[in-house]
C-alpha cells in the first residue's frame, strides 16, 4: 500500500534521499526514552491491556518502527535492537506448542516483559508526579533578607586540602583531558610563577624582562620564569614591548598598551 502519492506517482517505500531536518530527528529521538517507553506507547495508543499484550501485533509494530528509524539513517541505540530481539524470542516461544504434561510449570513467555513494562510505567508516572511538585525557582523562591554583617566577622570553614584535590581529580576525570592526567610539580611551579608575574604586573604596570631572573634562583628558576612568560604570551595575557631594537624588553598586561 503506498503511503504517499507524489505527482500521481505512488510511493511504497521511504525515499532514501528524503531530507529530514536534523531538528526533526532530535524530536523523534527525544520522543521516546528508550525501548520500554516506545513499547509502552504502542500499547497505550491502542488501549491495550498491559497484562495481556498481543505479542504478535506489538512485535510487528515495534519492528516497523525500528525499520523506519533505520531507513531514516537514524542511529538507533543498541537497546532498541535488544528489545526487538527479545520480542522476537517471546513471539517464537509463544508459537511453540506447549508440552501437555508440564502445563502448570510453563511460564508465560511474556511475564518478564510485562513485569518490566509495569515497573517502567510506574516510574514514568512517578517522574511526572515529581515534575508536578512545586519546585524551587520554577514555582517559588526562597525569601531572603541581606545579612548586613559586620566586616570583622569571619565564618569558620572546615576545609580539607584533600577535598580540593579530590574535586580536581573528579572534574578532570569528567573532562577526560589526556594532557591533564599528570600534573607535575614543575608545571605547578610554572603556574605559580605565572601568577606572580601577573601579580607584579598588577602593581607595576610594566616590568623589565631581565628583572624576572635572579642569580639566586639559578638555572632552574630562570627556566621556570621563562616558561611562565611563554605560557602567558600564549594565553594572550602579556605583551612584550621594546622601546628600541635590541633594547630592554618589557612586559605589560595585554591590551594595556597602545
Amino acid at each position: 500500500m503506498p503511503f504517499a502519492v507524489v505527482e500521481g506517482k505512488p510511493f511504497t517505500a521511504m525515499p532514501t534521499d528524503l531530507y529530514i531536518p536534523p531538528d526533526a530527528l532530535e524530536v523523534i529521538l527525544e520522543a521516546f526514552e528508550g525501548p520500554l517507553d516506545l513499547l509502552l506507547y504502542l500499547i497505550r495508543r491502542q488501549n491495550l491491556d498491559i497484562l495481556n499484550i498481543p505479542i504478535y501485533d506489538i512485535t510487528k509494530q515495534y519492528v516497523e518502527y525500528i525499520k523506519l528509524m533505520h531507513q531514516l539513517n537514524f542511529e538507533l541505540a543498541a537497546e532498541y535492537l535488544v528489545m526487538a530481539a527479545m520480542l522476537a524470542e517471546i513471539k517464537s516461544r509463544m508459537l511453540l506448542p506447549k508440552p501437555a504434561s508440564e502445563d502448570d510449570d510453563e511460564e508465560d513467555p511474556r511475564a518478564e516483559l510485562i513485569r518490566r513494562l509495569q515497573e517502567y510505567e510506574r516510574f514514568k508516572q512517578a517522574a511526572e508526579d515529581l515534575d508536578g511538585l512545586p519546585r524551587i525557582e520554577r514555582d517559588f523562591y526562597v525569601a531572603q533578607a541581606y545579612l548586613d554583617k559586620q566586616p570583622e566577622q569571619v565564618e569558620i570553614i572546615q576545609v580539607d586540602i584533600r577535598d580540593l584535590l579530590m574535586a580536581f581529580k573528579d572534574v578532570m576525570a569528567r573532562a577526560d583531558l589526556k594532557v591533564s592526567h599528570e600534573i607535575e610539580r614543575e608545571v605547578l611551579s610554572v603556574r605559580d610563577r605565572m601568577t606572580s608575574v601577573l601579580d607584579r604586573l598588577l602593581k607595576e604596570k610594566t616590568i623589565s624582562f631581565t628583572s624576572l631572573f635572579t642569580r639566586k634562583e639559578g638555572r632552574q628558576g630562570a627556566l621556570v620564569s621563562f616558561l611562565a612568560v611563554l605560557e602567558l604570551l600564549k594565553a594572550q595575557t602579556l605583551e612584550l614591548v621594546q622601546n628600541q631594537p635590541f633594547g630592554e624588553i618589557y612586559l605589560q598586561a595585554a591590551g594595556n598598551g597602545s
Binding site: E30, E33, G34, P35, L36, D37, I50, L51, A77, E79, M83, D104, D105, E106, E107, D108, R110, A111, E112, I114, R115, R116, Q118, E119, Y120, E121, R122, F123, K124, Q125, A126, A127, E128, D129, L130, D131, G132, L133, P134, R135, I136, E137, R138, D139, F140, Y141, V142, A143, Q144, A145, Y146, L147, R174
Partner: protein, 201 residues
C-alpha cells in the same frame, strides 16, 4: 526577651540564612536569654499567621523552617528573571524518581528499569544541584556507587520528608497475575520438589 522582639529576631534569622533553620538552630540565637522551644514555636506560629495573606509563606521542611514566596505570586516574579528555570528532561526526572523511590540504587539498577543507559551528564547535573549523592559503594565487582537523594532535594521540591513523595502506582494485580502466569518466583520447580521431599519424610 519580649515576645515581639523574639518574633522579629526569628523572622530576621530565617530570612538571613540560606539554609532552613530548625527550632534547635533558632534556639541558638539566644544563648543568654531564657528562651524555650515553646517560645520559638509560638513565634513561628505568629509569623505563619502574619504571612497568611501575603506573598510569602513559612514552610516546614526536613531541615527546618524556611520563608519562601507563594506560588500565586510566581507569575509576576517570573517577569523579572531573564533566564527561564531549566525544564527538567524526562530522562532526568525518571532517573531522579528512581533514585528518590528506590534509594539506595546503583546506576546499573536504574538502567535495568529504564531500559536505557543513564547519561553521566544527568547524574552530574543532579549532583551539582545537590539533589543526589553517593551513599556508599555496593560490595560487588566494580564497587558501583549507591545513589540517594539529599535534604536539598527535599527542600528544592518543597517536601518535608521522603514520605511526602506522591505514592507510587501499584503494580497491577501482580499477585493474581503471578499466580495466573506463574512468574516472579525464581525457582518454582525446585521449591515444589522440596515440598515433596519434606512430605516424603
Amino acid at each position: 526577651m519580649e515576645i515581639k522582639e523574639l518574633k522579629n529576631t526569628v523572622e530576621a534569622a530565617l530570612m538571613a540564612f540560606d539554609e532552613p533553620l530548625s527550632v534547635k538552630d533558632l534556639l541558638q540565637l539566644f544563648p543568654e536569654e531564657q528562651v524555650t522551644s515553646n517560645d520559638i514555636n509560638q513565634a513561628i506560629n505568629d509569623l505563619e499567621m502574619d504571612y497568611a495573606d501575603r506573598g510569602i509563606e513559612l514552610k516546614c521542611l526536613s531541615k527546618g523552617y524556611r520563608i519562601q514566596t507563594r506560588a500565586k505570586v510566581q507569575p509576576w516574579l517570573k517577569n523579572l528573571t531573564e533566564q527561564k528555570p531549566k525544564k527538567l528532561s524526562r530522562a532526568l526526572l525518571e532517573t531522579l524518581a528512581l533514585i528518590a523511590y528506590r534509594q539506595p540504587i546503583t546506576r546499573g539498577e536504574i538502567e535495568d528499569i529504564r531500559g536505557v543507559a543513564v547519561s553521566s551528564k544527568i547524574i552530574h547535573y543532579m549532583m551539582e544541584r545537590d539533589w543526589v549523592r553517593v551513599l556508599g559503594y555496593r560490595d560487588v565487582p566494580g564497587k558501583p556507587a549507591m545513589l540517594g537523594t539529599t535534604k536539598t532535594f527535599l527542600d528544592d521540591f518543597n517536601l518535608s520528608s521522603l514520605q511526602e513523595l506522591p505514592s507510587l502506582s501499584e503494580i497491577k494485580d501482580i499477585e493474581t497475575l503471578e499466580q495466573e502466569l506463574q512468574f516472579g518466583e525464581e525457582n518454582p520447580p525446585q521449591e515444589a520438589s522440596q515440598t515433596m521431599d519434606e512430605s516424603d519424610e
